[in-house]
Symmetry: C2
């Protein structure tokens, strides 16, 4: 059983980050193309809220494109780094070399 | 108002597809690392169910990595292609050149 009271709940994907060279123009395109809202934006990255997921737009020189998964077992991958928003996570790579952020599910 | 009866619902991200050179080893890694289930798998791609999203693993020679968004206005981007599973979509690129699949929200 997990904290949701269900025995076999699936892990949640927290956000997906893709590379764009210019944050402002990418935010303008995504917010005009889709129904989404801007949760955060500065010159190096932005975070857009969709119904079921957050989409991060990142300048590749500062942040690697990645997918962030919530996991109750994040600590088993190593020491977690605490972020300013209170989340804790560690970056690993899948067998193909894709960056994967594993976030504590708390 | 939309079909959900709410005036300002956000669009839903339907799936995210990332490139892996070997489907079987990627499926093995993701299913052993996270709580997810295999919805489909063959030699060229696989589809994993997470709580809020499907993650597609694709061989890059056959499928471009992309993010698929549901939209009630998919048709305005051009003629939609019908797929075997009944979905209809069109591929476009964002200003950064990332592939974006726009799927009819029906």
């Amino acid at each position: 059983m997990n904290t949701h009271g269900t025995p076999d709940a699936l892990d949640r994907i927290r956000h997906v980050a893709i590379a764009v060279p210019d944050i402002a123009s990418a935010v303008a395109w995504y917010t005009s193309t889709f129904r989404c809202t801007v949760a955060y934006q500065d010159a190096s990255w932005a975070l857009l809220d969709f119904d079921n997921l957050q989409l991060a737009l990142v300048i590749p020189e500062q942040h690697p494109p990645h997918i962030a998964f919530g996991s109750k077992e994040a600590e088993k991958f190593g020491a977690l780094t605490s972020h300013r928003d209170g989340t804790r996570s560690i970056y690993v790579k899948d067998p193909a070399g894709n960056y994967v952020e594993i976030m504590a599910a708390d």
